[in-house]
Symmetry: C2
């Protein structure tokens, strides 16, 4: 069996572009006992992948030049030498940006397409949904009547954050880019208020939308949104730091003055909690509850989700670069074949 | 009865100086039922008072121009119309920078001079000791074998932080200014390692003293120490933010580049916890345990303390300015009369 692979060709300086990736085709090995061969159906594209393109120290090793780009995938078993998986079964694997793979059967999770569309295993019922669930409930800890703000709010993490916040009785304020996404926040995802960070009067809008200040800011983006939000934080506010997509393509530190001392002063005088996290820290403590609760919320329609499906593995690189600019609308997935 | 009072004369720009304070004498009112008259014996000087000199928004209202400077005090009852307090009793009050006061008997706490010197109620067994105890145990949560770093380490908060860290089985690294203080950290307070932040090779010393990185940084100072420490933090490190004395006299934001985005990136990739706090948040949850445990530790000598006693209320202002520069050695107390 052949696999078409997208490799890291060179580390991008700033935004990834056409020169960042290259494509190759190679033959997969014959199956050994315990392995399965997968035809990849869907590839997940996520902001964390920008970190893997850089050699800078981070929470995970970078992708090496010439290696296949990493990523979560949904594949169909086409051949099996593993007990419990048969051709036609759909599984979650971490096969990366390629069209086929041979993996250890113990390293995949079988999906039940009758419970939910298999793509949800890459989104609302997968890593992004769990990121929202664990980060909001364990770090953000919204209380009834409090105000929760999240940016990138139509994305798979942000939309879940807002909807879970409302389930917990909090007021949810979503921030997104452009009128179409902003409208969807209130109409489709049920946010209490929605703001466009591109609006010239964004700071005034934020003030009007958070009359009682902000108790939880679920940080996905950094940049100017963070700067505006932090002026509205209440004493004892909590900030789960999940992502900083506005900063990922920065090639140098922003110009001064240096705001770090002032920010630490704010942390002190307002008794703020700032907590960075990667979702897998909470798998053991919150994984089972997530599967049960989120499954129920999605099934009942209390948590809705939106997917943005791009056709063709060859378009993954451009779609990924677009996601970092906010071009996608909902969970970005590549339909591979 | 007359009281000599030190008033806020003008808000300092940068360091407080002779023009910041003025002195006046006035008569106290006759005692009403339920009140006691106090001759103030000791006044506590603490870094948080710098915040009270500024009009900037903080966790407590600023002292108004012309008002008596605030502060914790130990006083002797000289007249009482309150059941349960008699002349000669020593009490903890919040009378501020003055020599006598008339207060509601319910608003003071009677001290037992046979248990510990009364000045400890302003230090190791009082607000600074509780700050160390609650901030380290509730936010820092040092585990056995972890490394805890604290600056201003001969001060009343820092010295308690290091000693409690050791009681909990952690390695304690203290930072102070000048060889005398640094020597006291290991010889008097039992720190595992001690560093002089004024040493030209401070960063190298810090690296050598923290071979396994830093798990808890108890933040008292900010500035260059924070900048050096944050390069040594481990994944999941906790930073209780208790004070930022190096920043208190800043009159403008430091020059660029702006390090805030980079710091938030570090929070994310290292899953850091940054938590500002004021000790009174934890009075209800940890106050009783503190009184019992810290009392035992001090009585048994497991927690030692040092006091720096300045004679005369008229010297309070200069002593306070000196404390912000690190001139004192141990808990700074003014012997009033």
């Amino acid at each position: 069996m052949q696999t078409t692979q997208i490799l890291l060709a060179q580390r991008p300086v700033g935004e990834p572009d056409a020169a960042t990736f290259s494509t190759t085709t190679r033959s997969l090995p014959e199956l050994e006992e315990g392995q399965v061969a997968l035809a990849i159906r869907y590839l997940s594209l996520d902001p964390y992948m920008r970190g893997r393109l850089s050699a800078a120290k981070s929470y995970a090793a970078p992708v090496e030049i010439g290696d296949v780009m990493v990523g979560g995938t949904v594949g169909e078993v086409v051949e099996s030498r593993f007990d419990g998986l048969a051709p036609g079964d759909m599984v979650l694997s971490y096969s990366g940006w390629q069209s086929a793979d041979v993996v250890d059967g113990r390293h995949v999770r079988k999906l039940d397409p009758t419970l939910a569309p298999v793509t949800t295993a890459l989104g609302v019922l997968g890593m992004p949904g769990f990121t929202a669930y664990a980060g909001l409930l364990e770090i953000g800890r919204p209380k009834e009547g409090e105000t929760v703000v999240v940016a990138a709010a139509t994305g798979p993490v942000g939309s879940a954050v807002g909807q879970i916040a409302r389930i917990k009785g909090a007021r949810a304020v979503g921030i997104a880019g452009g009128p179409t996404k902003v409208r969807a926040l209130t109409e489709e995802f049920g946010f209490d208020a929605a703001l466009d960070h591109r609006a010239p009067d964004f700071r005034d809008q934020l003030k009007a939308a958070t009359p009682d200040g902000i108790d939880v800011y679920f940080e996905n983006v950094g940049g100017g949104v963070f700067d505006a939000v932090r002026r509205r934080l209440n004493t004892y506010a909590r900030i789960p730091v999940c992502g900083l997509v506005a900063n990922y393509n920065l090639t140098s530190q922003p110009e001064g003055p240096d705001q770090l001392a002032g920010f630490m002063g704010q942390v002190l005088t307002q008794s703020l909690t700032i907590r960075g996290f990667i979702q897998d820290e909470f798998t053991r403590s919150h994984g089972r509850d997530f599967v049960r609760e989120m499954g129920e919320w999605v099934a009942s329609g209390q948590v809705r989700y939106r997917e943005d499906v791009v056709e063709g593995l060859e378009n993954a690189g451009a779609a990924f670069a677009g996601m970092l600019r906010g071009d996608n609308f909902g969970k970005l997935v590549v339909k591979v074949s």
